[in-house]
């Protein structure tokens, strides 16, 4: 099966479900979710086993290499998890989408991620700036809708508007950047861009200008300081599953695109050093901001937002490391994102469940979780440990390779900052562990103090799978590498 069939399949799945949703008034909407999950799983299976050999390029713009394959995988997996999450989150949705307890609106919420997923997959193999722009916008616009989806929830709407305005702003810069890239190199295709850059004579300033504008647009996607400003508020306001999607799916896609776009700039002599230095500085700023600002947080969602900023920082360190043969940077970033998928999704999954069972996003909502449901507490613990980068979890290897790269390229100051950040990480991640295990359950807010949390079989299995994945790749990272 040719690679581009995957997106087609996904889109078709989306359309199918849309029709179903439209013409099938009664019946639980979760059926749609189920179908969506099954469908996407099938696509995932096809991705892994059914697709042709990598190394093909369609229409000169659709790249089908290992990276594309892996990032498509990330997109699919995160979408599946997000939909599963949404099922558990349905209660909350109902509360804020309709006044009556009907399920209208749920359908779209299960379906929109699918289209977003298609967009992400396109991004994964985008090879020229126009494709990048279009695919990116597809994802972005879908996200506008999904963020603001709980339309009776002020938080969600506010988040939606903030995301909309800042997103549009970044889009503006991105477009301007593309324009200038075209102006300097006279091409949209990245290879051509590379050639164009390599034979710049005279000042490299216009090229750098173009680069900055592109970085603005992409930095917004990956939440790099100083273009991170939307992250905390939007993460906090958006529905938890959407937040998860933002922080995994769109971040991963953003990174693959960043890598692809930067490649020509980093190979072209005139722009190389300046670009690397700028990236390093961005990385440092992101690390410091994300980690330090997370320390005083009391809202878990917001805390995870800052943590996602900080992880962007770590990833940027890897990108900023000018190791000969960028594959190292690619490998590191990709591995990190793979691990990041598992651990972040784990955390958000549990966040959703806690939220849906009368807790809240606030830290206090997690107090005594270990007594309300041991599995959830344990899962969260593993997730947090991995985010904090404790050994024997996948997250550790992410940081491990990043530090390694930084050392290899003699970026000692950056390494120092990274270590500082990681150290701060211990504090704010363990804060959650503290309230889960130390505090008593009866402090849990809202209704039913100390009531245990019942979770469905599917959820249980999913969580177990995520836990096992997090731990497994923490012990045997080799396997993950073998996939790209």
């Amino acid at each position: 099966m040719p690679a581009y069939g995957l997106e087609i399949a996904v889109v078709c799945l989306g359309l199918l479900l849309l029709l179903m949703d439209a013409f099938r008034e009664k019946g639980a909407k979760s059926a749609i979710a189920g179908l969506a999950v099954i469908g996407l799983l099938m696509v995932l299976v096809f991705l892994v086993f059914g697709t042709q050999e990598t190394g093909v390029t369609y229409w000169g713009v659709y790249e089908w290499d290992n990276w594309a394959k892996f990032y498509k995988g990330i997109a699919l997996a995160s979408t599946i998890l997000v939909i599963l999450m949404s099922v558990d989150y349905a209660e909350v949705f109902k509360r804020y989408t309709n006044t009556d307890e009907s399920q209208s609106g749920l359908g779209e919420h299960y379906i929109l991620p699918i289209f977003a997923c298609a967009g992400l997959m396109w991004m994964a193999s985008a090879r020229d700036l126009i494709t990048i722009f279009v695919a990116l916008e597809t994802v972005t616009i879908t996200f506008y809708v999904m963020v603001a989806f709980m339309r009776h929830n002020v938080g969600s709407l506010e988040a939606g508007v903030k995301y909309l305005i800042l997103g549009a702003l970044s889009t503006g810069f991105l477009v301007f950047g593309i324009t200038w890239t075209f102006g300097v190199t006279g091409a949209f295709h990245l290879d051509a861009v590379g050639e164009g850059l390599s034979k710049i004579e005279g000042s490299s300033i216009p090229a750098l200008f173009a680069l900055v504008l592109l970085l603005v647009g992409l930095g917004f996607k990956i939440a790099a300081v100083p273009f991170h400003l939307w992250v905390p508020d939007v993460y906090q306001g958006a529905p938890a599953p959407v937040t998860a999607f933002l922080s995994v799916g769109s971040k991963a896609a953003g990174f693959i695109i960043l890598l692809r776009v930067l490649e020509p700039f980093l190979q072209a002599e005139p722009t190389r050093d300046a670009a690397l230095t700028l990236l390093a500085i961005m990385a440092a700023a992101t690390l410091l901001f994300g980690n330090l600002a997370a320390i005083p947080q009391t809202n878990v969602k917001r805390l995870l937002a800052y943590s996602s900023i900080s992880h962007a920082g770590f990833l940027l360190v890897a990108i900023a490391a000018p190791v000969e043969g960028n594959p190292d940077a690619w490998r590191t970033v990709t591995f990190y994102l793979g691990a990041y998928l598992a651990m972040t999704m784990l955390c958000f999954f549990i966040l959703c469940l806690v939220r849906a069972h009368g807790g809240s996003d606030e830290l206090i909502g997690f107090s005594g979780l270990s007594e309300r449901n041991g599995l959830l507490a344990f899962g969260m613990l593993i997730g947090l440990a991995s985010l904090a980068g404790l050994p024997l979890t996948a997250g550790f290897f992410g940081k491990f390779f990043v530090f390694n790269l930084a050392l290899q390229s003699k970026l000692y100051w950056l390494l120092a900052i990274a270590i500082l950040g990681a150290a701060a990480g211990f504090y704010y991640y363990f804060k959650v562990a503290k309230s889960m295990y130390w505090e008593k359950a009866d402090e849990a807010v809202e209704f039913a103090p100390g009531q245990t949390i019942e979770i469905s079989m599917v959820t249980r299995v999913t969580i177990l799978v995520l836990i096992v994945a997090t731990l497994f790749f923490g012990v045997v990272p080799g396997l993950l590498f073998s996939w790209f």
Binding site: V216, D273, L292
Partner: protein, 607 residues
């Protein structure tokens, strides 16, 4: 081989008692006495027919370096000392059978005794510093255990702690000395060190330091000034223990060790001077203190101090007579005569105390001569020996030699003489008050001789106190008889006898038939306030410093460094956090600002 037996039998005994016989004190005591007998027999055999050497046992190895446990086989000094230890030890064991008859902790007591016998034997037989240090420490432990035998008494517990601490301070010096010698000569064995020093004399300064450090050990163990304070308190222990450990053997270990390494003193005369003066000073001070004590054991304790001072002085005097270890033998000679009569005196006092229902204040005794004659007579013999009653007592001869040694240096000589007369004085005082006059308490009134198990040892000890200086003994111990080659013999003789007569008569006139202390001399009674001074020093130098250290640790290291950095992180975090103003336009503004900064940076990097 015999040495091994002597060494191990008490250890095994101690182990057995500790593991099995805690509940059956009778068996424990019997076993312990048995082991003491074994030890004594072995040592006697070794003394008369010297024994065959044993292969040293490797204790700890590290690469090519190893610490060995080796027993001196054919060494007069060691054999003599061993004989003393086992002999007195045996008698004390026997004596204790009576003295500790109905003590609840009897088993523990005998365990301690056996442990002590083991460690003391170890010290005596040690052929290198490492091994000696091991047993040195062990002796300290057993002494700690025995002093603190009645650990439920605050005074006893404190005394035990004090003894241990002070000894530790001495051991610090000892260890340092060993280390320095090890660095200088590269070996730990006594013989090796001796040869090394003789073959390649090291830098004098370093050697002096090393010798003095080694001497520190002796100062601690043998309770020389300034570390003498623990010994009087150690009298809190059971009296037989005082006799064995704090009079006859352990306190003499320091002197023994110094004699063992006498070649160091010879090689570093400077150190010898200092040692000699410290010894002399101790002898005098202790004698002065002894004159005003009311506790019978305290008197004896201080006299022990001053006698030890004699010995140390003799050791130091070696420097005066380069060549030949004559003075070393003088010290050792006095050591071993002293062992007998001081053990005798202590056991005697033990008997008295026992008879007076654990009454120790001499002013509450009196008139005991008629009531307990056996003890009184033996005690008298001991006293005579201690005073150095001319010609018939062993003490006289040993003291003679030392005085002869000291003759070269007037200060020390006159100190020696003065101390001798002081000794005579306070012993007269003690004897008069305890044995004559009217009994001042009904305890004393009803006192009578204890059973044979306690009196026999006294009698046995009385014998060597008298004849210890006979030719046979010289032969055994390899000691040259006191020959006064030099012409001042008569002068020295006269001096010592004169001192004796002066002291005795003074004491006689002062204390004849007195019911209470006629002369109150606070300075002596309160031991020159040295204890108080030390307490003050500890307050300042230890607790004070400790307090300051704690404060520094908490304020600087903990609060400032650790918490400070944490606070800093949190503060910066808040700072960053407040850039998230929440206002859309604010974000847009910062966003634009970010873009600008990025552009400016990038342009500044551009070439």
């Amino acid at each position: 081989m015999l040495g091994v037996i002597t060494l191990l039998s008490p250890l095994i005994t101690a182990a057995i008692i500790a593991l099995g016989l805690r509940r059956v004190p009778e068996a424990a005591s019997k076993l312990s006495v048995l082991s003491a007998i074994v030890g004594f027999v072995c040592s006697l055999i070794m003394l008369i027919w010297s024994c065959n050497p044993v292969e040293p046992l490797v204790w700890a190895t590290a690469g090519d370096f190893s610490l060995k446990i080796g027993l001196l086989s054919d060494d007069k000094l060691a054999q003599g000392m061993l004989f003393i230890v086992t002999f007195v030890g045996l008698l004390v064991h026997v004596f204790s059978l009576g003295y500790m008859k109905d003590d609840p902790g009897k088993a523990r007591y005998y365990m301690g005794l056996s442990l002590f016998m083991f460690s003391m034997t170890g010290i005596v037989l040690a052929d290198n510093f490492a091994m000696m240090f091991i047993f040195w420490e062990l002796v300290g432990v057993s002494s700690y255990l025995l002093i603190g035998h009645w650990f439920m008494k605050d005074s006893a517990a404190d005394a035990a702690n004090k003894a241990f601490m002070v000894n530790r301070i001495g051991d610090f010096g000892f260890m340092a000395g060993i280390l320095l010698l090890f660095a200088i000569t590269g070996s730990l064995g006594f013989e090796e060190i001796r040869t090394a020093i003789e073959n390649s004399p090291p830098a004098q300064g370093l050697l002096i330091v090393a010798t003095l450090c080694i001497f520190c050990g002796a100062v601690g163990k043998s309770a020389q000034f300034p570390l003498h304070v623990w010994l009087p308190d150690a009298m809190e222990g059971p009296t037989p223990v005082s006799a064995l450990i704090h009079a006859a053997t352990m306190v003499a270990a320091g002197v023994y060790m110094m004699v063992r390494v006498i070649f160091l003193v010879e090689a570093a005369p400077m150190a010898g001077e200092i040692i000699a003066y410290i010894g002399g000073g101790t002898a005098l001070l202790a004698a002065l203190m002894a004159t005003q004590q009311d506790d019978i054991k305290k008197v004896l304790a201080y006299s022990t101090l001053s006698q030890l001072g004699y010995m140390v002085m003799a050791v130091g005097l070696v420097a005066k007579h380069p060549g030949g270890d004559y003075a070393g033998h003088a010290a050792f000679f006095h050591l071993y005569t002293h062992a007998f009569f001081k053990a005798l005196l202590f056991l005697g006092s033990g008997a008295i105390i026992y008879a007076c229902h654990h009454e120790q204040n001499i002013w509450k005794m009196g008139g005991l001569f008629r009531r307990m004659p056996k003890v009184a007579i033996t005690f008298a013999i001991g006293t005579a020996a201690l005073m150095g009653f001319p010609f018939v007592t062993s003490g006289f001869w040993s003291k003679e030699i030392i005085l002869a040694e000291a003759y070269g240096t007037p200060v020390l000589f006159w100190i020696g003489v003065g101390t001798a007369s002081l000794t005579a004085f306070y012993m007269t005082r003690l004897f008069l008050i305890v044995f004559f006059g009217e009994p001042r308490t009904d305890h004393a009134a009803h006192a009578k001789d204890p059973g044979a198990v306690m009196t026999r040892p006294l009698m046995i000890l009385a014998v060597p106190s008298l004849i210890a200086a006979s030719g046979l003994v010289y032969k055994w111990f390899g000691i040259h008889p006191p020959h006064h080659a030099d012409g001042h013999a008569t002068f020295i003789l006269g001096a010592s006898i004169g001192a004796l007569i002066f002291g005795v008569s003074l004491g006689f006139f002062l204390y004849k038939g007195k019911k209470k202390e006629p002369i109150g001399f606070a300075l002596f009674r309160d031991k020159f306030y040295i204890d108080e001074i030390y307490i003050g020093m500890v307050r300042v130098c230890q607790d004070g410093v400790a307090y300051v250290a704690k404060a520094l640790d908490q304020i600087v290291v903990d609060s400032l460094a650790v918490l400070g950095s944490a606070r800093l992180a949190r503060g910066v975090g808040n700072l960053f956090r407040f850039t998230q103003v929440g206002n859309l336009q604010g974000y847009a503004f910062l966003f634009g600002g970010g873009v600008l900064v990025a552009i400016i940076l990038l342009f500044s990097f551009a070439r």
